[in-house]
């Protein structure tokens, strides 16, 4: 089996422009256009979050689709399952809005849609080749790669840094 791609975050590249959050909300709207999405009810939500921490670090956060996903095992209605690509999905029809998943997610990346009373999260944009947040990121802070390829790239870049610093 080929290894599925995942969304990785390079925090050092994020400038906090929030393009990812807008693209995500639009991709999960009915109209799939910015102008349409703005007027939709219920309001389309972003499943990616950009948090700030001291002194001025921007940290995009999105569902990790954890291997031993706590949300999936905690769910009391069987609404959360993992698909064949490793993506952990919330079945909106089965979700009863008890928020147990919110209580156990250590990343805080499961949202509560108050109008529909349903939990929502990153679904890695099943209809797109590349998730909307990754396509929209202007600085390359979000990448969509297999774990092997991403860690390979990180290793190479770290070695380059090392060589440069040693001069």
């Amino acid at each position: 089996m080929t290894q599925p791609k995942e969304i990785f975050v390079k925090t050092d590249r994020c400038v906090g422009c929030l393009s990812c959050t807008i693209a995500c909300a639009v991709a999960h709207s009915n109209s799939r256009t910015l102008f349409g999405a703005v007027f939709e009810k219920p309001v389309p939500k972003s499943r990616i979050y950009v948090e700030w921490s001291d002194p001025d670090k921007k940290i995009p956060l999105v569902c990790r689709h954890c291997e031993e996903a706590p949300c999936m095992f905690a769910c009391i209605s069987g609404a959360i399952h993992r698909d064949e690509n490793g993506v952990v999905l919330t079945d909106t029809d089965k979700c009863i809005g008890c928020w147990t998943c919110v209580m156990v997610c250590p990343y805080g990346v499961i949202g509560r849609h108050l109008e529909t009373h349903k939990a929502y999260r990153c679904d890695r944009c099943p209809d797109r080749d590349v998730p909307a947040c990754v396509s929209a990121c202007p600085t390359g802070a979000l990448v969509y790669e297999t774990a092997a390829s991403f860690s390979g790239a990180v290793r190479k870049s770290a070695s380059r840094e090392l060589i440069r610093s040693e001069g």
Binding site: T11, Y49, E51, W52, S53, K57, I59, L61, P70, M72, F73, A74, C75, I76, S77, G78, A79, I80, H81, R82, K94, I96, G97, C98, W99, T100, V102, M103, V104, C105, P106, Y107, G108, V109, I110, R112, H117
Partner: protein, 414 residues
């Protein structure tokens, strides 16, 4: 010839099913037999109030094929009540006459409603303690024939049952002996927003009273008599006074039972090749270190998975359970309660904050350097992060103000 199985799972609830599927992830060959005394296939027990209200139907309830319960080849026997267990012969005996040998066994027989012995007349028709799908079906049926239900006990399950009946158009009165509802999960002043929402939703609540007698006639329940002499006429009664573990079949077997089946750090019992998980097991609290039974779905799944791994030969330490770990929504008011939340007695640093629509209470240890509990009402965003901080006993120095202000996010750990 006597029947035998490699893995015998006694109990078809959350812990049993989680264990069976965890075993299957590791051992694709070994036979797994799961026994449940109920007539139904294993189901999502927390959903039964929706069966009462009619919002869900039978087919929405079952675990097999849903969520993480997708691996197959688990032989489920319904209607199989275990009456006796012989550790020498490694055999269980069933009420229906059958007996099954095993190599590894899991006691995950769960719990049943605690029925207070001091209330008279509880054997009348129309008295329920909501626990099983069968209970839910008969409650739904009874609700068609009556206009007023009296609920005894103010816990989460009884509140959910109350709302299911409200949805069906009944008048519902809740009798709570404690000063406020949800007294196991929070202190009275923590519950004021929830109480307000319950009142607004039309639930009638009587505090500080208990039922003494259930009066009945030829059509079953007529009325409930309270300890102040007051009589409430009603057509059904629902008891929600907690649960007690199903351990009767272990009597004389040598398995240590002390308020439940005693588990070690690896979910194992005191006898060989026997494990336990879920409501029936006595685990321990990672915060206080106390041994405890917790009747909670989330804990049962976690412990069941751990037991399953151990049974399949992957030694796995159980990280322990929070005695209090509950998220839910009653009357459109979401809340989360976890860890140490009763702070009236003992030395704690308690930080409260309250707005018109939300309330939170963050409980730190006396030294103020560790978070040990949290109650969030209204705004429960990122609740999982606080659970993580409590459970991992993270030092809070750098993030304490964020915890108090409820602005903690994962970025603080990066």
């Amino acid at each position: 010839m006597e029947e035998s199985t490699r893995y015998l799972i006694a109990g078809g609830g959350a812990a049993g099913m989680a264990a069976a599927h965890a075993i299957r992830e590791i051992d694709q060959e070994g036979t797994i037999t799961l026994l449940t005394d109920e007539a139904d296939q294993p189901y999502f027990r927390p959903l039964i109030p929706f069966l009462v209200s009619g919002e869900k139907k039978d087919s929405d309830m079952f675990m097999a094929g849903s969520g993480p319960y997708k691996s197959g080849n688990v032989s489920v026997r319904t209607g199989s009540l275990i009456t006796w267990f012989d550790p020498e012969q490694k055999t269980v005996y069933l009420e229906n006459g059958g007996r099954i040998g095993y190599e590894k066994i899991l006691f995950a027989t769960g719990s049943r409603p605690y029925i207070p012995p001091d209330i008279e007349g509880l054997d009348a028709d129309g008295v329920f303690a909501l626990r099983t799908m069968a209970d839910a079906r008969s409650m739904a049926k009874r609700a068609e024939q009556t206009s007023h239900a009296v609920m005894l006990g103010g816990g989460v399950l009884n509140l959910k049952a109350a709302f299911a009946l409200l949805k069906k158009g009944l008048k519902v009165t809740l009798i709570v002996y404690s000063p406020e509802v949800l007294s196991q999960l929070m202190e009275p002043e923590d519950a004021f927003l929830i109480r307000k929402a319950l009142d607004q939703a039309g639930l009638k609540i009587i505090n500080g009273r208990s039922a003494e007698i259930v009066l009945s006639g030829k059509n079953g329940v007529d009325a409930v008599g309270l300890d102040n002499g007051r009589e409430l006429s009603c057509g059904m009664v629902c008891i929600g006074k907690g649960v007690s573990p199903n351990v009767h079949f272990l009597e004389g077997s040598g398995v240590i039972v002390d308020g439940g089946v005693a588990a070690d750090m690896y979910t194992a019992c005191n006898i060989k090749d026997a494990y336990t998980a879920g409501d029936v097991a006595v685990a321990y609290d990672p915060v206080s270190g106390d041994r405890m039974v917790t009747a909670l779905w989330t804990n049962a799944v976690e412990m069941g998975r751990c037991a399953g791994k151990n049974m399949a030969g992957v030694k796995t330490k159980y990280s322990g359970t929070f005695g209090i770990l509950n998220a839910t929504q009653v009357a459109d008011e979401p809340f989360v309660s976890m860890g140490t939340v009763h702070t009236k007695e003992g030395d704690f640093e308690v930080q409260r904050s309250s707005t018109a629509g939300s309330y939170r209470k963050m409980v730190f240890n006396a030294g103020g350097d560790r978070l040990i509990g949290a109650v969030l009402v209204g705004d429960i965003t990122n609740a999982g992060l606080y659970r993580y901080v409590i459970r991992e006993k993270k030092p809070v120095d750098r993030i304490k103000q964020n915890i108090i202000d409820h602005t903690l996010h994962y970025g603080h750990f990066v």
